[in-house]
Symmetry: C2
Subunit: 331 residues, 2 copies
Amino acid sequence: MNVAVDAMGGDHAPEVVVQGAVEAASEFGIDITLVGHEKIVAKALGAYSRQAHVSLHHCDEVVEMEESPLKALRKKKNASIKVAFDLVKKGHADAVISAGNSGATLAAGVLVLGRMNGIERPAIASIVPTERNPVVLIDVGANVDCRPAQLLQFGVMAHAFACSCLGMTNPKVGLLSIGEEEGKGNEQVRLARELFKKSTLNFIGNVEGRDILMGEVDIIVCDGFVGNVALKLTEGTVAAMVRLIDRELKSSFLGRTAKLLGRKPIERFKRKLDYEEHGGGLLLGINGVGVICHGGSSAKAIKNAINMAAQYVNNQVLQKMNLQLTTSKVC
Amino acid sequence: MNVAVDAMGGDHAPEVVVQGAVEAASEFGIDITLVGHEKIVAKALGAYSRQAHVSLHHCDEVVEMEESPLKALRKKKNASIKVAFDLVKKGHADAVISAGNSGATLAAGVLVLGRMNGIERPAIASIVPTERNPVVLIDVGANVDCRPAQLLQFGVMAHAFACSCLGMTNPKVGLLSIGEEEGKGNEQVRLARELFKKSTLNFIGNVEGRDILMGEVDIIVCDGFVGNVALKLTEGTVAAMVRLIDRELKSSFLGRTAKLLGRKPIERFKRKLDYEEHGGGLLLGINGVGVICHGGSSAKAIKNAINMAAQYVNNQVLQKMNLQLTTSKVC
């Protein structure tokens, strides 16, 4: 198992990315290839005495956060994210993770490894922890302006993924909208609804923002703009609440005592909803395993994303999804 | 002060709406006109012995949740939401609140009272409690498919509202998007960004989902689809976290003790982020005060929305906004 890590991608690259990689290698024993500029990455790597399982693959370009993905990849043939996927294509690595420009990660994945059979537009799926079962939210950022037919494709991919890799049977699929009633939503959602109704997916209709964390639907489909806003908002709300409850508890003697006594349950609670525990979003629809992390990922988030990528490879997510897509005709 | 309450609107109408109205009348001494079918509303009202300040105005039609707002209003001249705005027009009431079809509430407000000077498209603004100052999120559901110029109008209205009614000076305005970088976002946001940059609003650029609760921006502009998803998601996340932390604390002896000792801070924390405490969304851009509540509003939410509407009337929100819109040329 070898995971190619885009060492140059992310707001805190390469230092934090390298830290996460070193920790993943030492904690999970995963072989890691750091892809990036030799000198810069080697310097970040120099901070760690133990670097077993970690190697370095040089390339001298990087797609910056604000660059247009397609233009940048056309110009920079040697960009770290493209080189990382090249390693997978050549059989030197089994998966790619990146906290860099997510549009470029998607584009490089498609460019180098190609789309899965029958898939027009790959998308990013995020597994959102809820009170009950996890929910697959798709797309969380790959495609900002979508046609209704593309939303249906996202549902089909997520269905194949949920059945083959999350052990779900006939997962319930909902369209993210602003009211449960048939006529509610924008034009895109109203048209997509008709397509979902005609498919053989277990379509339960529109779901609302508040339903995401209820865990009563298994797959929630939306365009990448809405999905990305929703994902970041959920994380932001969780983080704000944790800070707020800490502050309220600290403000009185009884509160401080309660905080001390309730330390373990409060920690458990934080961990349950902590996105850093859950790695990144999975790139669905390309012929390979790609995990996309937040630009601002911490070392812990990178470490867990690497572990997640390795697990997908071990679980043969691609082979299982392909089988699911070819044997079940959901639309 | 008289607030016209659409007694027929909402998932739990008329019972819960009537309960909220009776409580608002008794707690705040606000005169209330319940607008709806005489027999149905009188029956719900019969549950309360003390009904001071509450009167009933009969009408025999209602716009259902799943109806198309414009079509329904054209057909049902005597719909409760339209009649409620008629009462304002005739000077019998000062404000309208409704938990019914929000599109119909908006449309009836425009139809009966007209748009404010210079405003093309009214929108719903929600005041979101954050860790610091409250944030004005606009639009949270009135306009699902918006042109970029309409987003700018929402910013202008929210600016006038925040300056005149929330005591803000030169509020910071952000566009809700999926990355802070200039090129990020869907087409609508990228085009709107150019318009905002040319305006004299204090435009700080794109903000992300996670920024909503940070309280570092004063006004966040988005279309009504994204805004409604965001608002409901925030509420859903807060509710899920409250349930989750309760469950974690209950699961151990120390946790239960902590819960008991920390009761007051935990209650304060819940109250701070409880949407029911903050009433509903304010209809900005019509010549009158209208407050739109969730379809699923509790009696407490209705009560607080009525109080909020009364406060806006007392604070002369309309007059102040008109003054602000005519004296400051922000675009």
